[in-house]
Symmetry: C2
Subunit: 547 residues, 2 copies
Amino acid sequence: MSAPAQDPVEEVTQKIEELFFDDEGKPITKKAFKKLQKDKEKADRKAATAAKIAAEKAERDATNVDYSVDRYGKLPMNQSQTRTDTKYEDINTINASRAGETVTVRVRVQTSRATGGKMCFFVFRQNVSTIQGIITVDESTISKQMVKYCVGISPESIVLVQGKIVKPVEEVKSCTVTCAEIAIEKIHVVSEVNARLAFSLDDASRPESAYEEDPQLARVNLDTRLNNRVLDLRTTTNHAIFRMQSAVCLLFREFLTERDFMEIHTPKLISAASEGGSNVFKVNYFKTNAFLAQSPQLYKQMCIAADFGKVFEIAPVFRAEDSNTHRHMTEFMGLDMEMAFNEHYHEVLEVLEDLIVFLLTNLKSRFSNEIEIIKKQYEFEDFEFLPKTLRLHFSEGVKMLREAGVEVGDFDDLSTANEKFLGKLVKEKYHTDFYVLDKFPLAIRPFYTMPDPANPGYSNSYDFFLRGEEILSGAQRIHDADFLTERAKVHEVDLSTIQPYIDAFKIGAPPHAGGGFGLERIVMLFLGLGNIRRSSLFPRDPKRLEP
Amino acid sequence: MSAPAQDPVEEVTQKIEELFFDDEGKPITKKAFKKLQKDKEKADRKAATAAKIAAEKAERDATNVDYSVDRYGKLPMNQSQTRTDTKYEDINTINASRAGETVTVRVRVQTSRATGGKMCFFVFRQNVSTIQGIITVDESTISKQMVKYCVGISPESIVLVQGKIVKPVEEVKSCTVTCAEIAIEKIHVVSEVNARLAFSLDDASRPESAYEEDPQLARVNLDTRLNNRVLDLRTTTNHAIFRMQSAVCLLFREFLTERDFMEIHTPKLISAASEGGSNVFKVNYFKTNAFLAQSPQLYKQMCIAADFGKVFEIAPVFRAEDSNTHRHMTEFMGLDMEMAFNEHYHEVLEVLEDLIVFLLTNLKSRFSNEIEIIKKQYEFEDFEFLPKTLRLHFSEGVKMLREAGVEVGDFDDLSTANEKFLGKLVKEKYHTDFYVLDKFPLAIRPFYTMPDPANPGYSNSYDFFLRGEEILSGAQRIHDADFLTERAKVHEVDLSTIQPYIDAFKIGAPPHAGGGFGLERIVMLFLGLGNIRRSSLFPRDPKRLEP
């Protein structure tokens, strides 16, 4: 279409319109008008760019929405708000044959490791077992945000995980469950860690041999462990150690209950320092003093005088000894037994020997898994023992020591060094880590010990040794009140402190014998732990009362 | 033969001879001679009589020789001099079908009764069993001397008896072995009584009903019993009571071990009075002070924070309360358990309820003999309980009390009187001696108790009651360190005394709950003994530290 001929009025109007005005309608110069025009164009471009950016952001937001919000986060504190039918799995039941199943587990985060922002690997722990957990970003369920949250969960937090059992590409060697792992679908923190950990469980779980290979590795010393005992107790090694400790009591009772022994509970608060005054703790008892029992000795014997026949007790004993050694504590668990016999204290000694053989046999057979776990950290030689216990006369022990060049008197007590050395000699000669020394010298035993009627200077008493260290002391006791009084006087025991005990024998008591084991010593020696504090949950010594 | 005629010389001689002389040949008067002659005859008669008496005595002695000397007497003190193959019988194995067998038993002389100097009846005791023994003079084995010796053996002596099993003419109602007795062939004292007995076992064993029939009978009060506890413990009733006490621990462990609980041993010596200062015993600990744990509460929770999952402990607990009641002691046995749960503390409460049902069921079925023995002395009603435990909300208990006319506030603690009364109301309405009260008011529970999230003023805590008296207290515990700190402050607990405990929760702990039973209370209440001292071997209270 061609342009129409211009009307003169329109032409004038157009010219007026072409005059220059600013935005408020005031006439301006052409130059000013041009600048204004330029500014306008700039603003328009800016707006267009902003709009474009906004549009792009909107588009980005649309694809980046956190579609996992309900799948992760911290749960409110459990106050037993609800109860569902959810099944919480033991991770030990998880294996490759269950691949594809969705399970819920509550586990401790042992470690986590992020890879490339899109994946996170976990080692989850339950008691002595561990399993691998994996989470990977995907398009509709696992968001980047969720994986980022996972990476931020601190070790030792407790998490509730829902996921699918998956067969891993290759065996997961770093976990106890090797043939299956969990593809995480949901993860919520049940209990979080809000303190710096004194050490990592990896550092606390390392075997001695690792330090030989790499001396730079962080080492957690015993004091640090004990100061942070709750964290320390979480290692699989410690779980296994205390399963073993629990097992010793279980087997002790199993054996004795089977033989009609009766469990007793004797008082720990006593009126007088009845077994020698220096090693006893004094207690403020209302307006007077009491003392803490150093053993159930006198009371278990009183139960025998009361015709209980065969008794045992598992209870704490207290020793106010200022001994700071690897095998002394001020409080430990005593496994005590006492038994009336018919003719000879060897009737009782045989029960005690059978008890230890039963214990050792069953620890090995029923707790081999725990033993293997502990061995990984505290390497020790397998415990050797004979089906028929080796029983040596004390004088035979002395003879062996002398033949090996040790100067020792016939009636000397065994020093710790000689005790250990004799254990070594016995092991070499008889191939056993457990043996019994019978007929100790009378003078080095407590006042209530029955003298050997045939061999002056000796007594009807015995000690048991594991790996060359004493775990039990025992004897035939004097059951005759007059003779008991006589012997107490010889030992300069204050008779007034033991009157109820003496009185118990005035009304007739059968011949009897017994012994007391130290629980933590058995565990320490059987497992070669090297320090008794490692076999006590919260050890007590002259310098430690906490935690 | 006739007499020969007399020779005159002889006649004279005879006459001279007929003159009277005394014994020394001096002539005497006829009168004097006659007297002399009379005296002689008298002496002769006397001698003859003496000879006759001597002959008779010799004859008597010959028939009266003690042909039993080797069959009785006191044995030398047993020092394990010898060992034979003798079989020592349990008297419970003796019955009429074994009549004619010779057996050896070692028994306590409970009573003896002589009849006419030729017989003696014994009641022999072994633990909770008794059997009759009889000895009768005969011509070749049992001498009068032996029977006399038997009569002199004091009650409570221990004797070694060899004899023949005999079927008695009629049932021996006074003994537990009724269909057989022992005809004694040998009897030796093994251990004799050389003190006056404070009371006879017959007096100590009498049921309350006997005093109603005959108020003149000697009664042994509780203090006398406890002062002479060894003698007192010999009654069959006490043997049965402590068999039951032993059984409660056995069953407690059996149930929990079966459910994978682990036994723990926590320290009794602690560094601070962590559960409130007033009721705690102070101990001199080297150069500082320690305290005796009032419960394993904090430590068993720390084991949960260490991931032990399910734990139990049987150990003494110490309370420095100056309470002199029928149900308080300063030292008693705590049966404690603690358990992590997944969703709701009722998971734990159910385990505890099942535990008590298991305990009650098995006490009744496995220890019926003991229950019957105890019932004879301490008459009590059979224990009633429901297979599914009755669980009442605390407010429901308050409501029941109010409906029965008791004025009590919504959040008041239960007084001992109200506790018992509520037990009575529950028994009437629900026919059970065991029930649980759930949701105690928050304010009257310890600082670590978890509040009920739905009902302000209440908490996730519970008590168990047997025959209207509390045997267990328990709750969900606070597992969040910050909230625990907050609650401790509200309760004005000195935070410095519980730092290791608070710290345990800072490194993450699962939700958990638990409870603690008092062993002696369970035994006392189940058996209706009326005083807790009767269910403790050697009870301790503010006034008693001995024997």
